[in-house]
Amino acid sequence: MSKEKFDYFIKGEKGKYEVVIGLEVHAQVLSKSKLFSGSSTKFGADPNNQVSLIDSAFPGMLPVINEECVKQAVRTGLGLNAKINNYSVFDRKNYFYADLPQGYQISQYKNPIVGEGKVLLDMPYGSKEIGIERLHLEQDAGKSIHDMDPSNTYVDLNRSGIALMEIVSKPDLRSPDEVNAYIKKLRSIMRYLGTCDGNMQEGSLRADVNVSVRKEGDKNFGTRCEIKNVNSIKFMQMAIEYEAARQVELIENGKVIDQETRLFDTKKNETRSMRSKEDAHDYRYFPDPDLLPLKLEQKLIDDLKKTLPELPDKKKERFIKEYGLNAYEANVLVSEKEISDYYEEVAKLSDKKLAATWMMGDLFAMLNDKGLDISKSPISAKHFAELVQSIKSGEISGRIAKEVFEIILETGDNPKKIIESKGLKQQSDPKELEKMINEILTKNKDKVDQYKSGKEKLFGFFVGQVMKSSGGKANPQLTNEILKKLLKG
């Protein structure tokens, strides 16, 4: 397969510009309770129903670290091939806001729990490594609701204190496509690990996007702007495209880019200045005196490492080796843990290669069509494997298989039963087929003559007639062979 070349540049009047992107992804830790309190983290509860005295910062309340959240961060760090720091510190990030009850967010500043790591992306132009700068644990804020009342703002603290992992990438991304691949890969790794559900609709995964541009070939980075809190891949891509174009235009017009924080307006599809560097908050970070430094025993890290599941990169390698898939197929089938699990179940019971083809074709198309996750597939892996196996054994043709597929969807019956009861079994008996073909050829003597005198295109016509009279059940390969033999004679 010939590889495409990377080609994402913003074309200005004065040349091509490369876009440099770094992401700060905020991933909600999968845990029953919050980072420093026992409150539930379940999504969708009535406002202010999952709020402890700690989350609402009552006088004298103290944070106590939730060990499970720490383990989740370590697992994630290990999944990102990152250095786990045995010593990390929780700091206070001080600022006032109505949905920040303590008046500070507990975060990690100078000493994060996870250091440098890397993520591998599969791009059409080859694989690309994206550096991870760090991962740290922090508290989420509450939610301000401005549109419930014309003159008041309501505050919901259910989210206040939920654990987030902030995963900071190096400025290694170069296009909206790479951002797409990066977020999906991160999400996939975390879902494999069970450390974040990656649900972007519910806000479990959101990102601040740092964008700068520079002339192609420049060594130095341009001035960056940070686009805050973008909560879908599509919006991230749109924001990057808009922002890169905006910056190029400024440069081309001889203007300076201000380092600032910007917001992406999803309705107008544009970024807007939120605050400049001069107005930037002084967060007055300092170590939280209510919490001791977090010291992790190497044994804990090693034990967690031992219990990590097989991650997508490893699984991909194995799929290629074990199942004879090509890189593309393997990549698609490991992208989600549930997909890979489904595939492996199917592959166990049927032809591995054919299973991959059919999953990526008809099954995915159907799921996509119905907007379903594979975990909710109306066709079980077992039934799907039977279907694949029926194709492989020649029992039914591909075309019939599509029909059977539809019937399974409707009835939920198993493929064997459908094939039997509907008489869909392929005609693979050479004698019977030859008899039928002979009849067809006799009926169409004129066409046979034309074929023999050189009009070879008519071969297709004969195949069509065979299919028609067999109700599509004639074994295509056998049909071809017999037709060729008889037409020659």
Partner: protein, 485 residues
Amino acid sequence: MADITNQSLNEIIENVKTKKVSSTDLTKAYIKNIESAKKLNAFVTTTFDQALDKAKQFDNKPNFDQLLPGIPLAVKDLFCTENTKTTAGSNILNNFIPSYESTVTKNLWNNGSFLLGKLNCDEFAMGSSNETSHYGNVINPVGDQLVPGGSSGGSSSALAADLTPATIGTDTGGSIRQPASFTGTVGLKPTYGLCSRWGIVAFASSLDQAGPMTKTIKDCAIMLESMSGFDEKDSTSINKKKEQYSKNLKDNIKGLKIGIPKEYRVDNMPKEVDELWEKGKKILKDLGAQLIDISLPHTKYALPTYYIVAPAEASSNLARYDGVRYGYRSKQGKDLIEMYEKTRSEGFGDEVKRRILIGTYVLSSGYYDAYYLKAQKVRQLIKKDFDDSFTKIDAILTPSTPSSAFKIGEKTNDPVSMYLNDIFTVPVNLAGLPALSMPAGVDKQGYPLGLQLIGKALDEQKILNIGYAFEKNCGFKNEIKKWWS
């Protein structure tokens, strides 16, 4: 029976146990005292009805095996008390009624005692004279013009005036020991982490520590035993076996090595303080202790270090008082920011604002390294001074304060001179060590003066023992005339 309220806690407990006095009569006696002592302004809130109910409950079903059987206690208004208003001496919490009980007070109640009322204190425990309280200054029973010390001024005043048999305070830079010294009472700041901070309105988290204030060392041991203990809700709480301080109290201190730090002899210290220190050394020596000159070279940096670290933490700890969820909220302010500004301007007093400003400044970008970070480094050096000394000695003896109680209003316009009051007490908080202030004598005006015993981390028993021996041989008697009633 003679007035029971001028007895020690230990004596009172004995009287309750031997049924010489009922919890109800005891409680009534204190209520009578409190009602006739309103001039002292020691109480912010009283809980008489509730106390009488609890006393009755105790009398109906007494349990004499408890450490504090049927004992009414007033506590500093910095401890959150369930269903009882908790103000921290501030306007910003003037309507705050917690739905929870601090671990320390809960421990006291679990040992058989109950709440008599909440004691006045400097606003958010920031002050050395109890003059920063929104609820007015407290008067020292020693003299009607004198401050009771601070920030636990309501506690020291109430204790010395027989309005509570014992009490508890909090000590961030001397807030237990200095008021104890000013009122001729005993005050102990335990090792950082010995008493849970859960449910105590925070001032400076890395320094705050609750401790007992009592009339005698034995009482102090009883109270410490009752209030301390590991608490998983406080991440800085020390997980160790509970000790029986009162049972293990011994007055034999023969052979103990007492360090005398030369850096605690400061300029302009009144002669009487120096003489008192000499007297203390002699008593301990006569009891068989060995005096050893030591040096704590970084002592002179303790006060400036403290006045960076404590305000820095306070500026952040007090950010939660924003009028959004509880406490005072200004009715003015057209948007969120203005609401914050008005609420905090009207809710906090001047000293609190001063410390929030200092704290915000020292943490600000561009100043952090020069102030906060440097202060943290110096703090380590101060701690190391103590650690080094404690390889050679058992405890350290110093004066508690550089002077006796001063007059109301004398230092209110001079914050630095006010801060200097804590010069002997703050190093201990910075190092997280236990220290005891015990009454040792009076100055020429007849005002009490205290001496401080500093121990190794978790060496409370040892300094209590030294204090116990000292007390027996010191001959100090707190002669307070009840001029207010």
